[in-house]
């Protein structure tokens, strides 16, 4: 013991004497004796810290950036190994998990709740202030074909799957703070289990209907010259007068590309989350969960606006997706360039002809559904 202390002291003296560039925490000691505390060495290795200087960086910085750098780093230098051969079994401590959990339960859940509440408040306020946007000159009864059956089926398939996924996803995210106090844990566990399984099963269908959407609508949603004027006019929602638009106006095009791009991000991150069988580690899952949840929340919040504008927000808009035909006055008001095109090409279907196509006697205003019974 005495000899060791002597050697150590000697070694330390030597090191401080001859080299100033050696860091002070790594004293130059004779072979076979590790002067560092082995426990702290191990701890540094496990917590993935190179040296003293990095201590302050823990729990700072952007979580996503942290996760990315840690993923890259664990590829290069694995933390450890284990005889148990499982995903991440060689990782003794994953310090990022705690931050991810805190992000999900505080930041994500509360901001999502606030965003959802806010969009409903905004829309209700808007409806109260502005009311249903009427068509100038009222409905003419003369219709023009806007969407084919296939396009409408694509739209509604995406809508059904999206709604199922949004509701089940929100139940999983917000159920613990909002629903457990109402139903209790046991009842909520049923709902959550159903939501989780439903969400996982319907997820891939979202991607399929998204691709159908991409194929059938992409060409008409490419931005063109008049779109900027639409934006400058506030899309006709703010202020007086309608903004000019083609088959789709700029707002619809932007919503379409949001759905496609954010939808693809959601789908891909979701597919990674839903297939743990490919052995991706926790860090990737945490990252994908953040990407998935944040992008899904954006899409959900904006979709509420879309649903409002497509139904009670704007007179005559729902007809297009319901029957495939819109009133020519609606087309002139909201999509004047396309409306003009319809006039020029003489695509207008008279009210009687339209009623006949919908299977109604021309004089009756009864909905078509009643006839089949």
């Amino acid at each position: 013991m005495l000899s060791l202390v002597l050697t150590l002291a000697f070694g330390l003296q030597l090191s401080s004497a001859d080299a100033s560039n050696i860091p002070p925490q790594k004293p130059n000691v004779p072979d076979g004796v590790s002067a560092l505390n082995p426990g702290s060495d191990l701890w540094r290795e496990v917590r993935r810290r190179d040296g003293v200087g990095e201590f302050n960086e823990v729990n700072q910085g952007v979580l996503v950036k942290d996760l990315l750098s840690e993923i890259q780093r664990s590829r290069q230098v694995p933390q450890g190994i284990s005889q148990v051969n499982q995903v991440d079994s060689g990782v003794m401590i994953n310090a990022k998990g705690r931050r991810w959990a805190a992000f999900r339960m505080t930041t994500l859940a509360s901001y999502s709740g606030i965003a959802l509440a806010a969009i409903f408040v905004i829309i209700i306020t808007f409806y109260v202030v502005r009311g249903k946007v009427p068509i100038e000159g009222g409905l003419s009864g003369n219709m023009v074909k806007r969407f084919t059956d296939y396009e409408r089926i694509t739209h509604w398939t995406l809508a059904v799957v999206f709604l199922l996924l949004a509701i089940t996803g929100l139940i999983l995210l917000l159920g613990r703070p909002l629903l457990i106090p109402l139903f209790g844990k046991e009842a909520f566990a049923l709902l959550a289990s159903a939501s989780k399984e439903g969400h996982n099963l319907f997820g891939p269908l979202f991607l399929v209907s998204l691709i159908m959407m991409l194929i059938s609508f992409a060409r008409r949603n490419i931005y063109e010259k008049g779109d900027l004027t639409w934006l400058l006019k506030g899309g006709g929602l703010i202020g007086k007068g309608h903004a000019s638009g083609g088959f789709f106006n700029m707002g619809e095009k932007t919503w379409y590309w949001m759905v496609i791009l954010i939808g693809l991000v959601i789908s891909i991150s979701g597919l990674i989350l839903v297939s743990p069988n490919f052995g991706q580690g926790r860090l990737i899952m945490e990252l994908m969960h953040i990407v998935h949840a944040v992008s899904a929340m954006i899409l959900i919040v904006v979709s509420v606006g879309h649903m409002y504008l497509g139904s009670i927000g704007s007179e005559g808009a729902l007809e297009g997706m319901k029957t495939g035909y819109v009133d020519i006055n609606w087309a002139d008001a909201h999509h004047d360039r396309w409306g003009k095109h319809c006039h020029e090409e003489d695509l207008i279907v008279s009210a009687e002809e339209y009623a006949r196509m919908q299977g109604q006697p021309a004089d009756s205003a009864e909905p078509a559904m009643e006839q089949g019974k």
């Binding site: 002067a35 702290s40 284990s82 994953n94 959990a101």
Partner: protein, 193 residues
């Protein structure tokens, strides 16, 4: 009330994996689930150390924080347990846990993992003590028989200790003193001393 803790001594663990085997055998854990595992850091290099890791029964457990159905609870002994009847097998506890303790019977496509399983500190679960349901879902309830977790009980080098935090820290303190070095200051390698 006691605060139950695990302590694993990196200077004593010889990576024999007996704790892993004992745990699997005692609780008849299905294939693919490992409530305890031994992780080796710097394998084959100087300063190689092994540690036996399982659920560490955190005082402020991240798994309990993140669980969407709130299925975790802490017993009076400071043991973190979960209710498998409530668990939906989402896997979030596994992402949140620093130690990778939560385990799932499957890792199949469409996230069908089955219900989470983890170390119970040999304290069973919310079912009635020593009932067959408890054994099936959570394994043996040794604590209620007055026994400590088997992994620690049978560790041949006494690297893995389980029990009241006060008792464990006493043992740890004595060991540190015996090694002639504090864990918080530059020490010397115990093997050479």
């Amino acid at each position: 009330m006691a605060q139950m803790k695990f302590y694993c001594d990196a200077e004593r663990c010889i990576e024999c994996n007996a704790c892993v085997t004992a745990c699997k055998n005692e609780h008849e854990i299905p294939w693919g689930v490992n409530r305890r595992r031994v992780v080796t850091i710097k394998d084959g290099e100087q300063g190689e150390r092994s540690l036996s890791v399982a659920c560490m029964h955190c005082a402020d457990a991240p798994c309990a924080t993140v669980c969407p159905v709130d299925c975790f609870y802490t017993t009076g002994d400071g043991i973190v347990l979960h209710d498998k009847d409530i668990c939906i097998g989402c896997g979030y506890c596994f992402y949140a846990c620093p130690f990778g303790a939560p385990q799932f019977p499957e890792q199949a496509a469409f996230a069908s993992r089955g219900k989470m399983d983890k170390c119970t500190f040999c304290a069973g679960g919310p079912e009635e003590d020593h009932s067959s349901n408890e054994y099936k879902k959570y394994g043996r309830n040794r604590l209620s028989e007055g026994k400590l977790p088997l992994c620690a009980e049978m560790c041949s080098t006494h690297a893995l200790l389980a029990g009241d935090a006060d008792v464990l820290s006493d043992i740890y303190r004595k060991r540190v003193i015996n090694r002639g070095a504090s864990a918080f200051e530059w020490g010397v390698n115990q093997l050479k001393s």
